[in-house]
Subunit: 343 residues, 2 copies
């Protein structure tokens, strides 16, 4: 039986399998430490389009197309797409995936959206409602700066706590154990923890790591309680885009709860750029950050058996330019997905 676990978690009767995935990134991500692992790196960040938003839509379209190709599937064989992005009214999604003609369930959790889409996708399959689903999220540095901060032409200075929105999209084909057409799945999903909104009242959109860390700490503590495990259960505990500042806050907050994750914590935002040479300050961020790192790096480690079990927990800052302009805080949210190696 599928079951609710504790306050906020879901246990699966049968694992859900990540049968294929794909990643596409921009030039800066291609030059970063994970550059060689991505499936496709753009030659320029407009990806042949006329607007930044259209470029981001193209990222989603390419990522989904590649993931379907790798799984040997046609769009007609996909039950539902769970998709989202950071732009107002999820514009990158609306124009990115419409051509596939697949029924769409749009999701929004800021940069945690990748985790939310995988949690809901796994729920749809494990619940018996879908044969195969695709989960896809994206972000684009330039469309995000336009949506949330300053015009690029303005050339504003960025504090060291600021993160750099990743240009990229990651897509994932999920199915049950019987999917098997392509041989072996990349990994399997065995549980999920849904985050609640946590708001410590911070208002600095140039320090989103600190805004999101309390939500990550709350979701992690909830996860440990719901599954009756400790950090040692996992080879890696992977947040989405806390960056260097958020990582310290998270470690401190969890330490106070009695959990020591320092030896096994990894943050996609810290991994994706070389902060020193790439001038990205606290790290990468965005819906695309955790998605492309999961596809290119994390799933590779699980596939090769280097890691046996990880907790993937993208983090989101629930910020809009309107809320910022009205002096509101930046609440956070974080959704966790347990992934295990099929080796």
């Amino acid at each position: 039986m599928n079951q609710k676990l504790g306050r906020a978690s879901m246990g699966l009767k049968e694992p859900v399998y990540i049968w294929s995935s794909a990643s596409i990134v921009g030039t800066k991500e291609g030059q970063g430490p994970l550059g060689l692992l991505f499936d496709r790196v753009g030659e320029e960040d407009m990806f042949g389009c006329k607007t930044w938003e259209e470029a981001e839509s193209t990222l989603q379209k390419e990522a989904v197309g590649m993931a379907l190709d790798k799984a040997g599937l046609q769009p007609e064989e996909i039950s539902f797409i769970f998709a989202g992005d950071l732009l107002g009214q999820s514009m990158a999604t609306s124009f990115g995936i419409s051509s596939f003609g697949v029924p769409l369930l749009g999701v929004y959790g800021a940069c945690s959206t990748c985790g939310e889409s995988l949690a809901l996708g796994a729920m749809a399959i494990a619940g018996g409602f879908a044969d195969r689903v695709v989960c896809v999220t994206s972000s684009h540095f330039a469309s995000a700066e336009k949506e949330f901060r300053f015009p690029l032409e303005y050339g504003n200075q960025r504090p060291l706590s600021a993160s750099w929105t990743v240009t990229g999209s990651g897509a994932f084909v999920l199915g049950d154990a019987s999917f098997g057409r392509t041989g072996k799945a990349r990994a399997r999903i065995t549980g999920m923890t849904v985050g609640k909104i946590v708001d410590y009242g911070l208002k600095d959109s140039m320090n989103m790591g600190a805004c999101m860390a309390p939500a990550a700490a709350a979701s992690l503590a909830q996860h440990f309680a719901d599954f009756a495990v400790g950090p040692e259960e996992y080879d890696k505990i992977i947040t989405g885009d806390l960056g260097k500042v958020g990582q310290r806050v998270l470690t401190d907050l969890l330490g106070r709860e009695g959990y020591d994750i320092s030896g096994r914590h990894m943050d996609c935002g810290i991994e994706i750029f070389d902060g020193e040479s790439q001038d990205t300050h606290a790290g990468g961020s965005g819906c695309g950050c955790s998605a492309v790192t999961l596809s290119a790096y994390i799933l590779k480690q699980l596939e090769e058996g280097n890691w046996k079990k990880v907790l993937f927990m993208p983090t989101g800052a629930l910020l809009s330019k309107t809320s910022f302009n009205e002096g509101m805080s930046v609440p956070g949210i974080a959704h966790g997905v347990v992934m295990e190696s099929c080796n």
Copy 2:
């Protein structure tokens, strides 16, 4: 067994019950034909807040609070909230429901979000992942005009095809048959159809009914095929906010597919205002329109046994001000939920 039905639908092993619901609306909605049916009508449209966005957040908070009260539940007894709104980055939701401390799954489907939240909420319960969930959506005339169109102070003229965004929020407590603490459920959910994005290339944000009607037609035709039924299966086929223009387009498009819904079609946007006396032109719209009409009017009819079975299908226009400014089209989407009387 829960099952995938046809291309885009979900069949439930056991029905999911709508145990309680609540609606709160603004002054104009309170003066409309359904005015006496809403649980709460604001004395003024700021609802005691300093900004329109904060007012919309208050609507969600009030609606959820009332729905929980009616069900005799505390927030701690709710597994998950499925919530969304029309604002950029779902701002009304982020600040509206955080105080409940319930794990949140944010959804976005423009004005179809009410249908999406109910479909996913029913999936979570029928799949065994949750005991009870809350689904809530909202819209506010003034925050929507600010987000999508012109400053209110500008006093722009509105064409007759334009719709009037409903100020309101509807919340629903869903549970399985064993919930029963309050006696009798308002209605039961027995199936869902997930819509795909349909884009006929229309670009007129002042005629969203026409933009959304093709998506409604596609989802309805898909629903009839997936469940192997015709329009006569339902006492009412209820769209969200097509308005008078969209209703004509829908009837025409479905007529070409061989489906005659003219005798049983109802549109929440047409019901909620008296277009003549209230100067609302094509009808009401927004995430709140279908939600408050469902709570106050549709569920009442099912509860009283006046209708035995309806197909509730909110419709969404996937529009943003950025996409509009960049000359993009307004794609549509529509998600359907089958609701049956418990009488």
